[in-house]
C-alpha cells in the first residue's frame, strides 16, 4: 500500500537508473552582464536504492542543484530523468520528497498534520491518509508526538517530522539538503544513525547534500565531490565500507583515507576559488 505510484514506475524500468542528470546546467541571468553560472555539466545517475552524497565548498551550487532537481528552481539547460521519464512530464506527481535544511515545518500544524501535508486531497480517504502519516511518524521514532506543535519539539525531533513528511508520500527519490546542519554534534550523530536505519527500512534512492565529509562517507554508497562555483563534478568515490554502518567505522583506516582524499580535494577547490577568506 505504501508503495503506490512508486511501484508502477519501478516495474516499467527494472534495470535503468532511478534518477539521471544529463548535462544539467544552471545560470542566473543578469542585466547587461554575462549570466551568473551556478553549476554546469552535471552528469549523475543513481540506481534504485542508492545513497549518494554531494559534498563541496560553500557556494558551489550543490544545494541549488537539489532545488533544480525538485523543480523549485528552473534549469538553464540539460535534462532530468526519473525512471527514464523526463521530470517535466512527471511534474504533477510527487516522485520526489524534499527534506529541507531549515525549520520548514508549518508552525500551525501538529506533527501529524505536517506529515499529512503531502497526503491530503490526493484521492485518498482521510482515514487512510492519517494511517499512513502515523506509520511514518512511528518510523522516525515519534509515536506519541502526533499532536505536538513544532515549537514543542526539539531541533532533532523537528527534522524527524521533516523526514517523515518527505517519506510519507512514498517518493521515488529523497532529496536531503543538509538536514542535520543546524543540529548540535551529538544530536547530529544520533540522527545519522537514525537515517541509516530508516533508509535500510525504506530502501529509498537518496541524494544527500552536506558540507560534512565524515557524514557523507558514513551514510553513503557513493560520495560526489563538487568543484568550486560554477560547480562541476570533480570526482566520485565509492565508499569502501560494508553495511550496516556504525559510528565505530569512523576510525576505520579506509574511512580515514577517503576522508583525507576528499578533504584535500575540497581544500584545493577552496584555494582555487581565491581561498577561504573569499567564500
Amino acid at each position: 500500500m505504501l508503495l503506490r505510484g512508486g511501484k508502477k514506475l519501478r516495474e516499467d524500468n527494472v534495470a535503468g537508473p532511478v534518477l539521471e542528470l544529463k548535462n544539467l546546467h544552471k545560470e542566473i541571468p543578469r542585466k547587461d552582464r554575462e549570466p551568473f553560472p551556478i553549476f554546469r555539466n552535471i552528469n549523475l545517475s543513481l540506481r534504485d536504492g542508492e545513497f549518494v552524497s554531494v559534498v563541496g565548498p560553500s557556494g558551489c551550487g550543490k544545494t541549488t542543484m537539489l532545488r533544480v532537481i525538485n523543480g523549485l528552481l528552473p534549469r538553464t539547460d540539460g535534462e532530468i530523468f526519473i525512471d527514464g521519464k523526463s521530470a517535466a512530464e512527471l511534474d504533477h506527481e510527487l516522485v520526489m520528497g524534499f527534506v529541507f535544511q531549515g525549520a520548514s515545518l508549518l508552525p500551525w500544524r501538529t506533527s501529524l498534520k505536517n506529515v499529512l501535508l503531502g497526503l491530503e486531497g490526493r484521492g485518498r480517504n482521510p482515514k487512510g491518509a492519517e494511517e499512513i502519516a502515523r506509520k511514518y511518524l512511528d518510523l522516525v521514532g515519534l509515536s506519541g508526538f502526533e499532536n505536538h506543535y513544532p515549537h514543542e519539539l526539539s531541533g532533532g525531533m523537528q527534522q524527524r517530522v521533516n523526514l517523515a513528511r518527505a517519506l510519507a508520500v512514498n517518493p521515488r527519490i529523497l532529496l536531503m539538503d543538509e538536514p542535520f546542519a543546524a543540529l548540535d554534534a551529538q544530536t547530529r550523530n544520533f540522527m545519522q544513525l537514525e537515517l541509516l536505519r530508516i533508509w535500510s527500512e525504506t530502501k529509498k534512492t537518496v541524494i544527500f547534500v552536506t558540507h560534512m565529509i565524515a557524514e557523507a562517507i558514513l551514510l553513503s554508497d557513493r560520495v560526489v565531490v563538487f568543484s568550486h562555483r560554477p560547480g562541476t563534478i570533480r570526482s566520485e568515490f565509492k565508499v569502501p565500507l560494508e553495511r550496516p554502518r556504525s559510528m565505530e567505522m569512523r576510525a576505520d583506516p579506509r574511512f580515514l583515507e577517503l576522508e583525507n582524499i576528499v578533504w584535500k580535494q575540497i581544500e584545493e577547490e577552496v584555494n582555487a576559488s581565491g581561498g577561504f577568506a573569499q567564500m
Partner: protein, 260 residues
C-alpha cells in the same frame, strides 16, 4: 521561575497596578483637586454607575446604541478589509490601483469625514456605522495585506515541493500564515472603532455613550461624564479580551497567544 509562578506574579502586578491607580485617583480627588465640578472620586463613579445600571437603568440605551453601532461597523470592516487586503497582496495591479486612495483615506483624520458622512447617510445609524467602519477598516486591511505579503518564502517553496495546487497554497499556507497579522489588525481596530463611536455620537445623536459624554460635559454633569468614559473603557477591555480568547483559540500554535 516556572510558568505558573510567572503567571501568578503577573496577575498580582496587574491587580496591584489597578488598586494603586484607583487609590491615587481617589486621593487626588479628595485632597488635590477637591472640586466635584472638575474631578470626582472613583467611589462616586462606581456609585453613579450602579445607579444608572440598577436604579434608573438609564445607561442601558446608551450602552446598547453604542455597542450596536460599534458591532456593525467593526464586522463590516472585517468583511470588507480582510478580502480586500488579500486581493491587494495577491495582485500587484489591484494594489497599485487602490494604493493612492488608501493612503489618502488612511492618513486623513476621520473626524474630518464625520460631517460629510452625516450629510450623506443622515443622522441615523447609517452615518455612525460608516464612521466606525472607516476607523476599523484600514488597520484590518493593511494587516491582512501585510500578513500575506510576508509569508515565509520557505513555506511557498515547501508548497511547490509538495506540488500543492494554487488554492491549496492559499488555504493551507498563505491563509494560516497571515492569521496572526489579521488578528493584530483586528485588535488595533477595536480602539479605532471605539474612537469612531465617540466621534459619531457627538454629531447629532440622541443616545449612545458618545452622546452621554458630550451632553454630560456640556451640562457639567461630572459624575455622568466619568461614567461614560468608564463605559467606553469597559467596552474596550471587553473587546480586547474577546479577541485575545479568540486568538488563543484559533492560533493554539503560537506561544505568545497562550500567555496572559
Amino acid at each position: 521561575m516556572n510558568g505558573s509562578d510567572r503567571k501568578f506574579s503577573a496577575n498580582v502586578l496587574k491587580v496591584a497596578s489597578v488598586v494603586a491607580g484607583l487609590t491615587l485617583w481617589h486621593l487626588v480627588s479628595a485632597y488635590v483637586i477637591n472640586d466635584s465640578a472638575l474631578l470626582v472620586s472613583p467611589v462616586v463613579v462606581v456609585k453613579t454607575t450602579y445607579e444608572m445600571l440598577f436604579v434608573t437603568g438609564e445607561l442601558y440605551p446608551h450602552l446598547f446604541a453604542s455597542s450596536g453601532i460599534f458591532f456593525y461597523g467593526f464586522v463590516l470592516a472585517i468583511i470588507a478589509g480582510v478580502p480586500l487586503g488579500f486581493v491587494m497582496a495577491l495582485s500587484p495591479l489591484v494594489r497599485d490601483y487602490i494604493n493612492p486612495w488608501m493612503a489618502t483615506l488612511y492618513t486623513t483624520p476621520r473626524i474630518a469625514f464625520a460631517p460629510i458622512l452625516l450629510l450623506w447617510f443622515g443622522i441615523g445609524a447609517g452615518s455612525k456605522v460608516a464612521i466606525v467602519f472607516l476607523g476599523c477598516v484600514f488597520p484590518i486591511l493593511i494587516n491582512s495585506y501585510y500578513g500575506m505579503r510576508v509569508v515565509n518564502r520557505e513555506y511557498v517553496e515547501l508548497a511547490r515541493s509538495f506540488r500543492l495546487r494554487p488554492w491549496e497554497l492559499f488555504l493551507k499556507i498563505m491563509l494560516p500564515a497571515s492569521v496572526p497579522f489579521i488578528l493584530s489588525g483586528i485588535r488595533l481596530a477595536v480602539g479605532r472603532g471605539l474612537t469612531g463611536v465617540a466621534i459619531a455620537e457627538w454629531f447629532g445623536a440622541t443616545e449612545g455613550l458618545g452622546y452621554l459624554v458630550y451632553f454630560a460635559g456640556q451640562t457639567l454633569n461630572v459624575p455622568t461624564l466619568f461614567v461614560g468614559v468608564t463605559a467606553f473603557a469597559a467596552l474596550g477591555i471587553v473587546g480586547f479580551e474577546v479577541i485575545r480568547r479568540f486568538e488563543a483559540y484559533v492560533t493554539p500554535w503560537r506561544k505568545e497567544a497562550q500567555g496572559g
